[in-house]
Amino acid sequence: MQETNEKTAAMIEHLAAVNKILEKYNCDESKLIPILQEVQEEYKYLSKDVISYVATSLDIPPAKVYGVATFYAHFALEPKGKYVFKLCDGTACHVKKSHSILHALYDRLGLSDDKQTTDDLMFTVETVSCLGACGLAPVMLVNEDVYGQVKPEEAVAIIDDILAKAAAAE
């Protein structure tokens, strides 16, 4: 009995948190977007389980919730790394060769357009459309921190820095 309960306990806890969010919004279908936002804040991404669970709880089709989740770039359907590198690919940054930064990061971490998160869930590298700081182009965000006029070597150095700190902490 004990063993079986342990297997299910994590999911129950997980969904209890989703229940709280759903209750906060009275299970109101029209609040789908804020509900998904809060769920994502809690879990960093929207898993298939969570999307289905939100759908059935709101009594709407999972395809509809999945549709909303894939429409807004803000929603992540896959787990992201602890450090999320968001590289601006707006016109100004593009012209200033933001791509060379992207590829330097990809190369350093073994990532690509199809695989943007490292297996150890440390790093995610993605592009975003204009961050609105064109004066600083090319611009990059690492979690909440903004880096302006970044050079490829500098971007790679940030990674090395994080890894070195992580190693020292161990």
Binding site: M1, E3, T4, N5, K7, T8, A10, M11, I12, L15, A16, N19, L22, K48, D49, V50, I51, S52, Y53, A55, T56, S57, I60, P61, P62, A63, K64, V65, Y66, G67, T70, F71, Y72
Partner: protein
């Protein structure tokens, strides 16, 4: 009097009244406006911009999403309008897989038709190179995203008319597409196979699955005796494929054509429909006597059955346990024909000709297979048969009518009206009335349950009891009705449900139409057939009675009849639930066991039950043969009901009152005993 509700279209004054948009007013005036994303039965989407016209003083406007206003002056065919429409079609074609000659919708495709009508002779944009995979997973439908023009018609019909929403837009911009949740296969989601999405799709992006080649192979295989059963609605739909007037009964020509193509025997599903009435009306009278819960729902429509299995598992005991006429036919054919034809059962092949895509799915279900022999081997739609007749070079319109073969081709008018909404109910009432009153019924027609209203209600006095009946089509409407019944707000005795608009006559396997007049004509065709037939009551079908005498215990409801003609249902409510694997054996074939845990309840009894099942399996050395999962839901389990799936067939719904607290109490629970029994049975 209101100021003149009039507009001027191409110089002609046109009055309007309550039309919901400019488009309907202009069409009323006899001017055709091309549309892609507009359907009178669906909400307005306004995406394709084909329906544009020029409104003086306002410019170019989409008529589907513009209200008519008095005094509007409209031009529908200016140079600018023509070129806008043409460019739009060109853009759609650029995104569309142009494999037209090999597409089943060729010659019946809105995109192709408009391209021709608007004079699009070249596409200047480059075709997309990336190809999406074709979804062949569903036994009923094939989805080819490469042909999708993103009009959203399918999305809206599934959501607004069927109340399901199995497919939706996913992604955005250039990556937008229409697909099931998580971009899964259609067969892994809640799609009930009704095919109404295929019926509204203007292109070949969703089509009924084509099984013609398999059937040709069977026809060309000399070792097989190929037997056809023809559903009622097919006879009033097929003619349209060959230019007959809508509703014209071409059953006789069809029998002739099928024989020419190599079918050995051609029988009538209406025979099985009569038999369904024997069983279903008997079951109903038993239920009235208290044998099982009321209201009783019909179970002829496999799309409705799957819908109930997903959304209303608590009402499954209310579904008639009768198989659909298609499966009854298959069961009886495989039971009686081997002796009659002096052939081996495995050499007799039953091919159904159905107005329906859901019947394709139904025929594949494991519960309708016995010792690996399916009751029904292949299912063709009306249109597929039309095309087979075309390809055989048969001039259908010149054929002499021929009669169905006996005995399984003999039917009464009651079995024929099954194809229209209200028909099953009427046939059942004709039976129940005589049974209860014990005298011959004078007034045969139950007009209250006829006609194309989506929901009909009637009260019929049978033997002194007022029976409240309801007839509904469209699954969204059925959902509303079932919700009322679940909430105890409706007190019907008997409810007929069909998924398609107007019943099987407008099934997704029929020639495509969105014209309500055509549907009316098809229904009328069935009622006319009833009138012209010799017998009108299923109970008068002496060939059915003979069949009971020969091999099914002599009467409806007998033990043997139950064995052959009845079925059970599967609770599919866990389809969306978050899952956690609990135990998985390594045998080749694993018995799936899924236990629902309600997250809204602390210490939900589902958890205890799950642990008990795991212990049971382990203690009995079955752990290798099973795959146990927990399914999590927030669905209220009001009465402590837990869904437990054991295998693909058996589902036990068990009641564990919250009061049961100790393991001992639970272990001694009668419902748990049932689950143990189910596990043992499935593994035996």
């Amino acid at each position: 009097m209101s100021i003149n509700k009039e507009i001027i279209v191409n110089g002609i004054t046109v009055a309007f009244d309550n039309e919901r948009n400019l488009l309907e007013v202009i069409r009323k005036a006899g001017i055709e406006i091309p549309t892609f994303c507009y359907h009178s039965e669906l909400s307005i989407y306004g995406a394709c911009r084909l329906c544009v016209v020029e409104v003086e003083g306002r410019g170019v406007m989409a008529t589907c999403s513009t209200k008519p206003e008095p005094g509007m002056v409209i031009h529908t065919d200016t140079k600018q309008i023509r070129s806008i429409r043409k460019i739009n079609i060109e853009l759609l074609l650029a995104n569309h897989d142009r494999e037209c000659p090999s597409c089943v919708r060729s010659a019946n495709c809105t995109l192709q038709d408009l391209a021709r009508r608007l004079g699009v002779e070249e596409v200047r944009y480059k075709q997309l190179e990336e190809r999406e995979e074709i979804d062949h997973s569903s036994p009923s439908l094939t989805r080819d995203p490469n042909k999708c023009v993103l009009c959203g018609d399918c999305v809206r019909v599934c959501d607004e008319v069927q109340g399901i929403g199995a497919i939706d837009f996913i992604g955005r911009g250039a990556n937008a597409k229409v697909a099931p949740a998580f971009d899964q296969d259609l067969s892994s989601v809640e799609c009930v196979n009704c095919g109404q999405c295929a019926a509204v799709c203007p292109t070949g992006a969703i089509i009924p699955k084509q099984d013609r080649n398999d059937v040709w192979d069977l026809l060309h295989d000399d070792s097989k005796i190929v037997v056809a059963q023809v559903a009622p609605a097919v006879r009033v739909g097929l003619g349209e494929h060959f230019g007959f007037e809508p509703g014209e009964n071409t059953a006789g020509q069809l029998v002739n054509a099928l024989k020419m193509m190599g079918f050995d025997y051609v029988f009538d599903t209406s025979f099985a429909a009569d038999m369904t009435i024997f069983e279903e009306a008997t079951e109903f009278l038993d239920r009235l006597g208290g044998s099982a819960p009321l209201p009783m729902f019909t179970s002829c429509c496999p799309a409705w059955v799957k819908f109930a299995e997903i959304y209303f598992p608590e009402l499954l005991p209310n579904l008639s346990s009768c198989k659909s006429p298609q499966q009854m036919f298959g069961s009886v054919a495989k039971k009686v024909l081997p002796a009659k034809l002096n052939a081996d059962k495995k050499d007799i092949v039953v091919v159904s000709i159905m107005p329906c895509t859901a019947k394709k799915y139904e025929a594949t279900l494991d519960k309708f297979k016995h010792e690996d022999i399916p009751e029904v081997d292949k299912v063709l739609t009306t249109v597929e048969v039309g095309r087979m007749i075309n390809s055989a070079g048969i001039k259908f319109d010149e054929l002499d009518p021929e009669a169905f073969d006996m005995p399984l081709g003999f039917s009464t008018g009651a079995g024929v009206i099954f194809g229209a909404t209200g028909g099953v109910m009427e046939a059942a009432l004709r039976f129940a009335y005589e049974k209860v009153e014990g005298k011959t019924i004078k007034q045969l027609e139950f007009k209250e349950v006829r006609g194309l209203d989506a929901v009909k209600e009637a009260t019929v006095n049978v033997g002194g009891t007022d029976l409240k009946v309801a007839v509904v089509y469209g699954l969204k409407k059925a959902k509303e009705l079932a919700e009322k019944i679940r909430a105890g707000e409706a007190d019907y005795h008997f409810v007929e449900v069909m998924a398609c608009p107007g019943g099987c006559i407008a099934g997704a396997g029929q020639p495509i139409t969105h014209d309500i007049e055509v549907r009316k004509e098809r229904a009328k065709g069935l009622y006319t057939a009833d009138k012209r037939m010799q017998l009108h009551k299923s109970q008068d079908n002496y060939m059915v009675q003979e069949c009971y005498n020969e091999c099914m215990g002599g009467e409806a409801g007998s033990h043997e009849a139950h064995h052959t003609l009845h079925t059970n249902y599967q609770n599919r409510c866990q389809i969306f639930d978050a899952r956690v694997p609990v135990l998985k054996g390594d045998a080749d074939k694993l018995l799936p066991i899924i236990v629902t845990i309600c997250t809204k309840q602390e210490n939900d009894p589902g958890q205890k039950l799950l642990a008990l099942i795991v212990d049971y399996v382990k203690n009995n050395n079955l752990a290798d043969k099973v795959e146990i999962e927990a399914a999590f839901t927030s669905r209220p389990s009001a009465d402590g009901t837990i869904a437990v799936t054991v295998g693909s067939q058996t589902v036990e719904r068990s009641k564990f009152k919250n009061a049961i607290n100790t393991e001992e109490e639970l272990a001694n629970n009668a419902e748990f005993a049932k689950i143990k029994e189910a596990i043992d049975k499935e593994l035996a």
